[in-house]
């Protein structure tokens, strides 16, 4: 479904994504986990065609380029920050995005009602988006990201700033979407919540450190939860970058450039890269 090969993205000399390779098949829920500044958002934005990789190649649905009209229709995207028209009502927002994807008339009405019912916002459909609470805004965002029935749903930190109860609910909705046949790609830095993923990728300093089913990763690092497994994986990489990359990440490209990667990762530093930080407005 998504194939990312040796992708590099730099912002004014800082490396945000550093020779990243990643293959995601059609399936259920995939998680990209990593700290702030790991390059998760940059990776997603390149997948959406919003950014162009400096090096490497991204293909979707077989052999389609990101940003091609055929690809765009099949993807839903929920950005990290609230992107709604504040003066439009919830329903008008969802309908507007539905129309952009070619939904019309009764079909649009039905889908709008369906997705708003699903996120428990149908009762509040007439409220202006600007008057919603933070949690409701996130739900409206999810509704408008899936109104056109995408095959692939990309969610950038969908649960950031969401209370724990609603976070659980979000994961219920993700499971429902997966049941409907949607492949979900979710980034998060709440690592433990990603245990509901079919497979997760640990991303750090613009590279994938580790991949696998959450349960398998927990066992591999003899950790009690996914977060501990992540910390352990990070520690292993810090000690021996070549071993970590070579043994666990099943791609050739990573192997031969592992040493260089580690150095580049240090350069990128723990801080968020410039452009990613720029997106971080409230």
């Amino acid at each position: 479904m998504i194939s990312v090969e040796g992708v590099v993205k730099r912002y004014r000399g800082r490396v945000a994504v550093d020779g990243l390779t990643l293959h995601i098949p059609a399936g259920r829920i995939f998680g990209i986990l990593g700290p702030n500044g790991a390059g998760k958002t940059s990776l997603l934005r390149m997948t959406m065609g919003l950014l162009r990789p400096d090096e490497g190649r991204i293909r979707l649905f077989g052999n389609l380029a990101p940003g091609a009209p055929g690809t765009m229709r099949r993807i839903g995207y929920m950005p990290q920050h609230v992107a709604l028209y504040e003066s439009l009502s919830v329903q008008e927002n969802v309908e507007f995005f539905g129309r952009l994807y070619g939904l019309r008339g009764a079909h649009l009405k039905r889908r709008t009602e369906e997705v708003l019912e699903r996120v428990d916002l149908w009762e509040r459909r007439a409220l202006p988006a600007g008057q919603l609470s933070g949690g409701m805004m996130r739900r409206a965002m999810l509704a408008s990201a899936v109104v056109h029935g995408p095959e692939l749903l990309i969610l950038d930190e969908p649960t950031a700033g969401v209370d724990p109860l609603l976070r659980l609910k979000f994961w219920d909705w993700f499971a429902w979407l997966a049941d409907e046949g949607v492949t979900l790609l979710i980034t998060t830095h709440h690592i433990s919540e990603a245990e509901g993923c079919q497979e997760v990728f640990f991303q750090r300093s613009g590279r994938i450190l580790e991949r696998g089913a959450p349960r398998a990763l927990i066992e591999r690092y003899r950790a009690h939860d996914l977060e501990a497994a992540f910390v352990a994986a990070t520690a292993v990489q810090d000690e021996s970058p070549a071993a970590a990359a070579g043994d666990n990440v099943g791609d050739g490209a990573a192997k031969d450039s592992a040493a260089k990667d580690s150095a580049a990762g240090d350069r990128a530093g723990p801080g968020e890269p410039a452009a990613t930080a720029g997106g971080g407005r409230p």
């Binding site: 919003l50 162009r52 940003g67 765009m72 950005p79 609230v82 992107a83 028209y85 952009l100 994807y101």
Partner: protein
Amino acid sequence: MNALWIAQRVLREVLRDPRTVAFFFVVPVAVMGLVYLALAKDEVARVGVVYRGMAQALAEPLEAALAHAEGVRPVPLPALEPPPGQRGLEALSGEPDLEPRILAALARDEADAVVLLSADLVPERLAGRPGAVTVYVEGSRPQLTTLVRQAVIQAAARMAPAVENPAAGGPAGPAAPQPACPAGCAGTPLPEVRLTYLHGDAAYRLVDFFLPTLLPFFVFFFTFMVSTITFQRERTRGTLERIMIAPVRLVSVVLGYVLGFSAFCLAQVAIVLGFILALVTFPVTAGQVAALVAVSVLLMLIALAVGLVVSFSARSEFQAVQFVPLVILPQIFLSDLIWTLDGFPRGFRWFAQLLPLTHANAVTRDLLLRRRPLLETWPHLLALAGLLLAALAFLAWEGRAKGGAAPEA
């Protein structure tokens, strides 16, 4: 004490934003400079003197008197020199095409006004009648019309002795006109001064001159401001990004914005234009209204494009707001909205050619005040189209520079 800490924080924050600092100190200086340039030099009307027959005897003293009058400056009009048969005593009959030629010279902007001393002026006065002097004025600038009228009356009073005895002829004393003579000192009353207007008439007021340019001003100002803020909001909110990733062609996005803004702009044009039409004294035809609407739409497109350029250059809504006076102020001062650019250094006059309002104001005044057909104003229309293309080219270039996709949010 806490107040001091807060004050320190405010100072730090402002000082670390060089734009705000520049804004604080540069804008007042720039505005004062522009006001100075606009007002330092008084407006001067260019007046030509045309004579026929024996009135030659009065032409030179009149020119000398005009040279000393305030607010006017004599200009030569070689094209309107009398032909050989129209000098001195030979000229007994008038030239039928003289008036159209004078008006044509005004239309060509060779002078702002022409004083005609006709061949029968001297015989009239010798017969004891006051005679008449016709002043042809361009008329579209009421300020200049007023200056010309005052100067001609003043000059006529100064040259009263010469008028009293035109047969004596000869130029007045060089650079030293006769002292003003009370009206009673002349045996024959001073000639009557008649005004003929190329554009407008005596009822035409200063407000008639200013009102029409408010249309382009409002269209540009509001469309620019609203589009700047709207696009800036769309960018920072991330909704623009969501439109960019939808399967919507860029053409549709652009067209959508243009249509949306057009609706508002046209409603505004209807209101502003209705207000103007209700207040001006001169009649306006449906064709002129249609032409004005067309120019307003073109100007709106430019304002929209400039708004886009600015919103892409601004990082925050605050910066976008700072850009507004930066774009608007020069156009208020340099677009002939209030002041002519005659008193400004040449560089400013060149710069003014890059401002959309300069051309929009010129077209509007040509249309309404000079009653020219829209197509006759083509140099200005061409300039407006060029400015629109330049803004679009800049946007396309910037879009490409930022990776062909939405700008980094």
